[in-house]
């Protein structure tokens, strides 16, 4: 909705441009909305951005058949249409439906109610069920919810169910993975060109693989379970071009915090976010996942990164199903384009209580903190821990506040204990973390990212100040309503742990 675009001047100028861009779908209330905006955006960082340009749509003739963006092409193929435009409502064939322990039982309930107690899912190989949210807890309902998933998977003979029974020892569960979005990638369920829906807002993470991936609610999921289709509206695309070599103190988390700070928590509502440019191409898959993961924090419907050799290499040993990547046409219409010179960016945080409350990490150096949390789909992958370990290694010091480490999946946990860190003389991440005085890496799950039952490890049960590699910092997110959460990259989180204050990682990395 127009009124959700609340950032002042840079955005308002693009809005006015866009009115003339030929994109007829948008009502002129955009202009009215801008006058209502009140949000303050730090002007200091704006200088690294070139002014937005909206791509002028070329005059269309009857013979023009393509010129679609990546997202449009994926949805066109999935809806078996040769052509479609943003704003079209289309019935889309779903390639993968994912659900977990929090929303699975509700989705199953709706499926059974609407399709019948004896109904069967549309395709037992396309439903992936991943318990991950409230696992290592004594909360009876939480435990019951995993049982509900198990019963359903047994009855339906679901091929991919990453079950857990022994809560006391996660390693005793051969099938259990952990955080669904990371598990989906690691188990080869993300493929370029496909449509992946999940009952979780961070399903957009999978867009890193060049596919359409977005979060849906229980009712929509119940519908997909029965039919394998869903009615979706085609979103227009915002393009983010990031060029330049990634400085050694920046991570993908800084890039996405930069973007969200720029366009606000509603700047991409109902839109697709496409990430291109030399910087994006230089990112490995887990970094691309971090980038796409927080698309929802800008209100985005989905995020996409074009598939390339990095993608194909990652997928080589993970999936044997054929896939066909798609790419935006050169003359495709984008709602607007943002350009970033990465070399000018600095490490960022999102201050309480909003992911768009952007600030330079170095300007928050007087903020005393109580704890650091490294985990979640956003910041608990192997690459994230590698980054944190690198910084601890470079400093050689010990942390000054409790530092919680929650690997996203069993694989990540294993990597912590087996992967040697370059330049460390053969040490593993777990050793470096131990030497730095961090807590022992916990059982893999979503953990305290979203608070959870009261006995969740690292949950914020008292008002504390926390630097976290997670994705949201609204009031009460990690448990306590008065808790203060600073969202940051693993580098920034590690640096902050070492000083006990919000700290720019360049203190330790230059």
């Amino acid at each position: 909705m127009a009124s959700s675009l609340v950032s002042p001047s840079p955005v308002s100028s693009f809005i006015r441009n866009k009115e003339g861009s030929g994109f007829s779908s948008f009502p002129s209330t955009f202009q009215i909305a801008i006058q209502k905006c009140k949000k303050q955006v730090s002007k200091k960082i704006v200088s690294v951005m070139a002014p937005q340009q909206s791509e002028r749509k070329p005059a269309t003739t009857g013979s023009v058949k393509t010129r679609m963006t990546m997202t449009e092409k994926i949805l066109a193929r999935a809806s078996e249409k040769p052509q479609l435009s943003p704003g079209d409502n289309v019935w889309v064939n779903v390639d993968i439906l994912m659900t977990h322990d929090v929303c699975g039982p509700g989705s199953i309930g709706i499926f059974k109610k609407e399709f019948g107690e004896n109904a069967k899912v549309w395709d037992r190989e396309k439903v992936v069920i991943i318990p991950d949210h409230y696992i290592f807890t004594s909360d009876e309902r939480a435990n019951r919810n995993v049982d509900i998933l198990r019963d359903f998977c047994t009855e339906q003979n679901i091929k991919y169910f990453y079950d857990i029974k022994d809560l006391g020892n996660f390693k005793a569960n051969p099938d259990y993975k952990g955080v669904c979005h990371v598990a989906l990638a690691q188990e080869g369920h993300c493929r370029p060109g496909e449509v992946l829906l999940g009952t979780d807002s961070h399903t957009c993470t999978a867009g890193a693989f060049g596919q359409f991936a977005t979060g849906i609610g229980n009712t929509d999921a119940g519908f997909v379970l029965g039919t394998g289709k869903l009615l979706l509206k085609v979103p227009p695309t915002l393009r983010f071009v990031m060029d330049g070599e990634m400085p050694p103190y920046l991570l993908a988390k800084d890039l996405i915090l930069q973007i969200i700070g720029e366009i606000s928590v509603a700047g991409a509502t109902y839109k697709s976010m496409e990430f291109v440019g030399t910087t994006v191409e230089s990112l490995n898959m887990e970094e691309r996942m971090t980038l796409c993961n927080m698309v929802v924090e800008a209100g985005g419907k989905n995020g996409v990164v074009p598939a390339d050799s990095t993608t194909f290499k990652y997928l080589e040993d993970k999936t044997s199903l054929p896939y066909e990547p798609v790419y935006s046409d050169a003359q495709a219409s984008f709602l607007s384009e943002y350009r970033f010179d990465i070399s000018k960016l600095e490490p960022l945080v999102a201050k309480p209580h909003s992911p768009d409350n952007r600030a330079l990490a170095r300007e928050c150096k007087d903020v005393k903190i109580d704890r650091v949390y490294i985990g979640s789909c956003t910041g608990g992958k192997t690459e994230d821990f590698l980054a944190a370990a690198k910084l601890f290694l470079a400093s050689g010091k010990k942390v000054r506040v409790p530092t919680f480490l929650v690997p996203a999946t069993q694989k990540v946990w294993l990597d912590l204990y087996t992967l040697p860190i370059p330049g460390s003389g053969g040490k593993t991440m777990s050793q470096i973390f131990e030497e730095a005085g961090c807590d022992t890496p916990a059982s893999p799950s979503c953990g305290a990212c979203l608070g959870g039952p009261k006995d969740t490890y690292a949950r914020m049960n008292e008002p504390k100040v926390c630097v976290s590699t997670t994705n949201r910092n609204f009031p009460g997110r990690m448990g306590h309503k008065e808790g203060q959460i600073y969202l940051a990259s693993p580098y920034t989180a590690a640096a902050s742990a070492l000083t006990g204050y919000v700290t720019d990682p360049r203190e330790f990395l230059q």
């Binding site: 509700g106 309902r141 009952t199 807002s201 849906i216 229980n218 289709k229 509603a266 109902y270 009031p475």
Partner: protein, 259 residues
């Protein structure tokens, strides 16, 4: 204050704004009209410097829509009436229903009710008037009025479900986050209506309001002001059929027998 901003009408060829996902509710049960017994002089509002408009309250009886008789199930004549609860911008799903309550499964009737009892309990303590009183399980506010980006954050359907289970009938916000909007209509729990202006700044918690869906209008009886709402629009064909499931059965998409 721009209380009546003229809306530039959109071309009918375009199915309304990009803010609306295609939305549908699986089963629309006819909403009942709530006519609370209220005494205008005792209506408590947030910020006690605001004095109730007694004169407006008297004129209430002339509004033809305020009838306690049963409502036909036709959406187009649906009217909601009751007290409103006003919140600000970016009310995210963690504030609507904190994550610790997500172990409750909405499709389980007993847990559905329990979810309702926790609706908006995540709002910070700066909201001194709570949505649900400490000893209660239902709200006395049938309409929630919000600002921009209402329902942002998680895709959890528990959010609109909690509001509906608590007794809210409609949310009127300046704008919505897409998943919340979609879930609201998919579940049929609350009507996610959009206002043209920031009525969250012109209404106070405890104001008596009426929403007329067919006329796309909100009337605040406590301030004697009327506001235009965006028509529920896109939801039309699918809601008419009775929701996504009914629509799919009608068009033969759902197989008649389970495979």
């Amino acid at each position: 204050m721009a209380a009546s901003l003229t809306r530039i009408s959109c071309s009918s060829a375009f199915t309304f704004s990009a803010s609306k996902a295609s939305v549908f509710s699986p089963s629309l049960s006819p909403p009942s009209i709530k006519v609370p017994t209220f005494s205008p002089l005792t209506v408590k509002t947030l910020g006690s410097s605001f004095a109730p408009h007694v004169t407006c309250a008297i004129s209430l009886t002339t509004h033809a829509t305020l009838t306690p008789s049963s409502v036909p199930s036709d959406t187009s004549t649906t009217t909601f009436h009751g007290l409103c609860y006003v919140v600000g911008d970016n009310i995210d799903t963690d504030q609507i229903i904190p994550a610790e309550y997500l172990t409750l499964v909405p499709s389980n009737p007993a847990e559905y009710e329990k979810l309702g009892s926790y609706a908006l309990v995540g709002l910070p303590s700066s909201y001194t008037t709570r949505f649900i009183e400490p000893n209660e399980t239902k709200t006395k506010y049938s309409i929630v009025i919000g600002g921009a980006n209402f329902g942002c954050g998680s895709s959890r359907e528990h959010a609109p479900v909690a509001l509906g289970a608590a007794g809210a009938k409609a949310v009127v916000a300046e704008s919505y986050a897409r998943i919340f909007f979609r879930n609201s209509v998919a579940t049929g729990e609350v009507y996610p209506l959009e206002s043209e202006v920031r009525i969250c700044e012109e209404c106070k918690t405890g104001d008596v309001v009426t929403i007329q869906l067919r006329e796309s209008r909100l009337i605040n009886h406590s301030t004697c002001k009327e506001y235009k709402l965006n028509p529920i629009g896109d939801a039309g064909p699918v809601i008419e059929a009775g929701g996504i499931f009914a629509y799919a059965r009608k068009t033969g998409m759902i197989p008649s027998e389970s495979n």
